[in-house]
Symmetry: C2
Subunit: 395 residues, 2 copies
């Protein structure tokens, strides 16, 4: 059977070149970067080289790059660490309603610690209005966090405009760039942000490594206390093989970004156009143009996404229904709900995440196998029967 991996939003495979640079660090180069001898020196130099590679990807200074173990850790560190470090100025935090749970739930934890939280609404395409950010700011606002793009629906946010507003108001601004860094151009100076999260496994680097970039001069409280690694900001023995792999992935992303975008965009657009043409009652979610090059997301009416996933999997196709981190929670996506999509429709969400290995044939295969799956599921759907009989319940 044909095997088609279309879940690159959940995780990408490792590029062979990335794997290759990692292998010696699983073998003879095993030293602890903190050690004061040749074994340690070799490991430390490799970590420092990777730090430069990552810094170059995002237009930052190498000393501003803090290695973490995941995008989730980076987001936790940003939200909790930045808020706790600025709390003498105030205790009001603003995040968008469509943030990843690592941002949203970190903000909820701050609430338990006595902070106040404002959730920014989004429009039907998932866009945060910068004027909403302006309106949300108070004298005691110390931190705003809005993601650069939403991995579930693909919408890219107006980060530069938001940064303009936070800067005018002297409020620290963090952006979760886990879905964008390594995929589309991300430059911290052009964006004008103060802190930015990214993750290796989102752009053909390894799992187990992420980055929090914090602009020089911005104070942050460590989340992990202990040794003096990462300039005393994040303790723990460095995950050298993964860091080295992330560096290589960053270098390759920078070198090949335009070509990658040019490869992904037509695949995405083909599916965005053809799927609603082939299947009735399918709605594209997210922004029609300002969206991630590899993201094609839909809501299929009268069906649960889970069932489509299972049947697509039985045909060799891997996709997801919302973010991987929440897939096992089996709840309607908070992102779709915030976009004003009904709980019922949100249940039928389907996310295709294209990657470098995908081809036009993969899209055609989906267009071939998905319609009969949808037909079959709708025949078993009480909601669909009701709609056919009464014309009610459709969107």
């Amino acid at each position: 059977m044909r095997k088609v991996y279309l879940d690159n939003a959940a995780t990408t495979p490792l590029l062979p070149e990335v794997r290759q640079v990692m292998l010696p660090f699983l073998d003879e180069i095993f030293g602890n970067p903190s050690s004061l001898h040749d074994w340690g020196d070799t490991a430390r130099e490799a970590v420092d080289a990777a730090r430069v590679q990552v810094a170059q990807l995002i237009g930052a200074g190498a000393e501003e790059v803090i290695f973490t173990a995941s995008g989730t850790e980076s987001n936790n560190f940003a939200i909790k660490g930045l808020a706790l470090a600025q709390q003498s100025k105030g205790k009001h935090v603003v995040v968008s309603a469509i943030e990843h749970f690592s941002v949203l739930h970190s903000a909820r934890t701050l609430e338990k610690l006595g902070f106040e939280l404002t959730l920014l609404p989004v429009d039907k395409q998932g866009v945060v209005d910068p004027e909403e950010v302006r309106r949300s700011l108070r004298k005691d606002t110390i931190l705003v966090s809005v993601m650069q793009a939403n991995g579930e629906v693909g919408t890219i946010e107006p980060i530069e405009e938001i940064a303009q507003i936070t800067r005018e108001n002297n409020v620290v601004f963090h952006t979760d760039a886990v879905a964008t860094a390594g995929t589309i151009p991300v430059n911290v100076k052009e964006l004008g942000v103060d802190a930015l999260s990214l993750a290796g496994n989102q752009f053909y680097g390894p799992k187990g490594v992420g980055v929090l970039w914090v602009r020089k001069g911005v104070r942050i409280m460590p989340l992990l206390d202990g040794g003096v690694q990462e300039g005393g900001r994040r303790a723990g023995t460095e995950n050298v093989p993964a860091i080295v792999g992330l560096g290589k992935a960053a270098e390759m992303a920078m070198a090949n970004m335009a070509g990658r975008v040019a490869h992904l965009t037509p695949l995405r657009d083909r599916l965005l156009t053809e799927l609603p043409a082939k299947i009735d009652h399918v709605v594209v979610s997210g922004h029609p143009r300002n969206r991630l090059p590899g993201n094609a997301s839909f809501c299929v009416e009268f069906i649960e996404g889970e069932s489509m996933l299972m049947l697509l999997n039985s045909q060799g196709v891997a996709v997801s229904s919302g973010s991987a981190c929440t897939s096992r929670a089996l709840k309607a996506s908070h992102v779709l709900i915030a976009m004003g999509i009904s709980h019922e429709l949100a249940q039928g969400s389907l996310l295709f995440g294209f990657g470098l290995d995908n081809t036009t044939e993969d899209v055609d295969y989906v267009l071939e196998v998905l319609p009969p799956i949808v037909d079959r599921l709708r025949q078993m759907s009480p909601l669909y029967s009701k709609f056919i009989k009464t014309g009610k319940g459709g969107s």
Copy 2:
């Protein structure tokens, strides 16, 4: 030149068998364990199998094993997460003065959050007296943390006796087993503890992975919020290759533990006996018998440990002076100071961490190259000149 790695306390190399099981997870098996398709299933099954392997190593239930990214994260999670979850009962925390900085500094962070901290003293051999634990307990004590063994001086602590006392007093007891798990027998039921930290890179497993074991029924507040990974207790995409490697390392440690201890102990004892015989004014640190099988630690009078490290390194020998996490802080070890060793003497600390690859010849090589290094450094030492002239300043 002969190359002798004697810094296994900082990090161990990967065993070839561990590397072997990891490689497919850097290649074709790249799915996100949270994904609901074949790619995700394969990854999830591998993580679950590793969870069982780790659970077996420490005599625990698999569902009690929480994967983290390091021993440092495990310790932060334990100290902060257990204290914050129990704070309705009180805000007093007790840790020993010789804990790793990931425990000590986490406890200091709790102080900033309004908790009270008691540091337990140790004797000259680094042993915590269980009766000191008993005396430290108050009505509002909610957490005690004492490491199972100190990685710097090798001393093994009376964890079972301490657990008896905390249990009688209904106080949660955490032990940092980073230096012991996978090296000497560790059984959470026999120890009687409520939570235990371990790290992969301490027993021939990979960097970038650790474990916090928390006994079923003991409440803990997540340190990393977000997705529902690890039973909702620790968010973030799982570091599958590292977790799989840790599982294999645990399995191998369990299968070969007696043989490993039998290999390490005579190497350690040879150095502990011969070094003070070969060099004047060398003091063994830590407990003479109740110590880690691979740990030989000393204080060399009138010299700074750093200089010895550098010159040993130039002879191909890797050792450390205190813990790797603090080696770049260049301060006298808080562990030695807590043991009543003077700042001057503590500066001359030297830690040999034996590993599976080491041989008697390695010990002999150290015994050959170290004495002339010490001689050379002492000739440049004002403290030593003074001692020779006056007989004062020695220990």
